[in-house]
């Protein structure tokens, strides 16, 4: 079976970055951010033998009991407010989770580990911080002054205790399933989920405090105000972001075994320091009143503190994702089989926007079945790339790669699935999963930018509503 020529109405596809099989040897991932594929050797019973598993389990149980007690007290005193807080912050977590989960399209993380990371942030890091952070504030007041604790306590004590408590969770994930943290991007994903768990429970706890402080019984408006404040104003550049940065450091520490221990530990420490600094700046009283000019000035101050770390970490994610794509797609390219993946599809597969555009393009030309077949083909290509990388090193001869496809059950399964979806696409007269309309992708990017602008405007309105001036 061969892939027929592109349909005459198809525009020129994106150019592939892998013209020959030798290129992956010099890929960016090989030079700066290597990927250590998960070896397919053991099941879950391997983790059960590790002390790290029991340590994590113990701490999750202790943290779970603490947070459950807190929620039970909340339900007893303010049943409606507690329910609304859980609902709002629970729903708030959904888009964040989906976004973070989608970062790692090529080599998906096991859901149980993602849940474990979230639970560490929600149960363990919050429990540790609820004890440690007030003590840190008090120490600042005792060793410095009440003014120092009042103005800088959250920036110094809060950031220090919380960032360490969350980063311990990423380290714990690496201890439970080290082989699953096989790239810097994986560290980012686990870190972001630890931060997200923390952010959600912290939001609920702050909401209940606001209800108690308001002194108006089981009132919902303090919960809504807290949700706006912590969800909309602080949400986009909060714990999820900080811990993603710390997670990148842990990912580097675990993956870059070719570097010296001091270099890896130093890089991880630097990433943690970066997360702390972002958190410190956000919590600090600097630009606390904004840049003047009322609510608009507060919004400007907010953006000045939040946007630079957001951009920096998004850039880091983009680079880490490109490195990971380099590695896995290099394996597919080396296979040299256009029935499995074409050069143009390789260029599409590494970028979420182009993958989505390829599905839309297929849907437009071949209907629902075309879009579904492209989605399945992309998934099969990604799984095949990961399966191949587990059994053969990068730069392996194409004949050995084909032998691996025949001998490895997982690789064979996804190879056959890719061929099946290719056959389906051929029948649909849409032989190649192309994303020819890059302009559309760009338009969507602008549309996203427009949405962000609207969101900023909503935030500004929220600031005004909360008396931000």
């Amino acid at each position: 079976m061969t892939v027929p020529a592109r349909p005459p109405d198809a525009p020129e596809p994106v150019t592939a970055r892998w013209p020959d099989a030798a290129r992956p040897l010099r890929s960016r991932s090989a030079r700066t951010a290597p990927v250590r594929p998960t070896p397919a050797v053991l099941g879950w019973d391997g983790s059960l033998l590790l002390p790290g598993f029991w340590m994590v389990s113990l701490l999750l149980v202790v943290g779970g009991v603490r947070i459950a007690t807190l929620l039970r007290d909340g339900f007893a005193a303010y049943p409606v407010a507690t329910s609304v807080a859980l609902l709002l912050f629970g729903l708030y977590a959904v888009p964040f989770w989906l976004f973070v989960g989608a970062l790692d399209f090529l080599e998906r993380e096991p859901p149980v580990l993602l849940a474990c990371a979230f639970a560490w942030g929600a149960l363990v890091a919050t429990t540790v911080s609820m004890s440690g952070s007030p003590a840190g504030h008090n120490l600042l007041a005792k060793l410095g002054s009440p003014e120092l604790a009042a103005n800088w306590g959250s920036a110094i004590a809060g950031a220090t205790v919380e960032e360490i408590a969350k980063t311990l969770g990423i380290v714990a994930i690496a201890l439970v399933a080290r082989s699953q943290v096989n790239s810097v991007l994986d560290g980012v994903v686990y870190g972001a989920l630890v931060g997200l768990g923390f952010q959600v429970v912290e939001g609920v706890v702050y909401s209940l405090s606001a209800v108690a402080l308001a002194g108006r019984g089981d009132a919902v408006d303090p919960v809504v105000a807290t949700f706006f404040l912590r969800g909309f104003l602080a949400g986009p550049w909060s714990h999820t972001l900080f811990s993603a940065l710390a997670g990148a450091g842990v990912g580097y520490l675990v993956v870059r075994t070719d570097r010296s221990a001091p270099s890896r530990v130093g890089t991880a420490a630097l990433a943690l320091a970066g997360a702390w600094l972002c958190h410190f700046l956000w919590n600090s009283p600097l630009l606390g009143d904004g840049l003047g000019y009322g609510g608009l000035g507060v919004l400007a101050g907010l953006l000045a503190k939040g946007v630079p770390p957001l951009l920096m970490i998004l850039w880091l994610v983009r680079v880490a994702r490109a490195r990971e794509a380099d590695f896995y797609l290099g394996q597919l390219a080396a296979l040299g089989d256009p029935r499995v993946v074409t050069d143009a599809e390789l260029a599409v597969l590494g970028r979420a926007g182009l993958r989505a555009e390829a599905r839309r393009y297929a849907h437009g030309r071949s209907g629902l079945r075309g879009g579904r077949a492209v989605r399945r083909l992309q998934r099969a290509q990604a799984r095949l790339a990961v399966a191949l990388s587990r059994v053969v090193p990068p730069g392996t001869d194409p004949r050995q790669l084909r032998a691996a496809v025949r001998s490895d059950a997982d690789a064979g399964r996804w190879y056959r699935e890719a061929l099946a979806q290719r056959a389906r696409l051929l029948r649909l007269r849409h032989p190649e999963a192309l994303a020819p309309h890059q302009r559309r992708t760009t338009t969507r990017r602008w549309a996203t930018g427009g949405l962000v602008t609207v969101a900023v405007f909503v935030v500004w309105l929220a600031i005004r509503a909360l008396g931000g001036a």
Binding site: L42, V161, L175
Partner: protein, 187 residues
């Protein structure tokens, strides 16, 4: 789901390190906090800034609990301790009426188990003319007084609590201190 083998001994050491680090944050910091004294002497003749421009002359012989004192630009709290008596002042933004502020403070007080408001409320006024309401409450083995003042978008809540005998001995000094509450104008 696949997990590669990892050597148990390094894993044990690293796990213990994580456990110790978490324990240091959760128990070590609070233990260190408890080991250091929280109270500082304050001058009775110098106004103490509670926060948001509100100041007070501390009662003679009072110590300031720095762990419960947080002066900020828009709000603040201060806790003075006289023997076994706690004298707390809380200042925060409030856009309601004085009766609403008093009701809110009563709710906060009675939220504690065994705490009950006792007696009737009476008007209160400070030396600088701030008008408010004051009353009393009881708690297990303790008695208490509260006052609430409203000025310029701020509520000032004062609560005093301690064992009956200890409270009687210092109440005059605390009342004098409460009467000295003043707001810097304009905020």
């Amino acid at each position: 789901m696949v997990v590669s083998p990892t050597r148990p001994m390094p894993n044990l050491i690293a796990s213990l390190a994580v456990l110790v680090a978490a324990a240091l944050l959760a128990f070590g910091l609070p233990a260190l906090d408890r080991a250091l004294p929280a109270e500082r002497p304050v001058e009775a003749d110098q106004r103490y800034e509670v926060g948001a421009g509100v100041s007070v002359l501390p009662p003679a012989g009072a110590l300031l609990d720095v762990t419960r004192t947080r002066p900020r630009e828009d709000r603040g709290t201060a806790l003075f301790v006289l023997g076994g008596v706690r004298y707390a002042i809380v200042v925060e933004p409030f856009d309601g009426t004085l009766p609403a502020a008093a009701e809110r403070l009563r709710q906060k007080i009675t939220a504690g188990r065994g705490y009950q408001v006792a007696g009737v409320e009476r008007p209160a006024v400070t030396a600088t003319g701030l008008a408010g309401i004051r009353g009393g409450y009881t708690a297990p083995r303790r008695a208490g007084r509260y006052s609430v003042f409203l000025v310029d978008g701020l509520v000032i809540e004062v609560t005093v609590s301690g064992a009956d005998a200890a409270l009687r001995g210092v109440l005059d000094r605390i009342d004098a201190s409460t009467r000295s509450l003043a707001v810097r104008s304009p905020r």
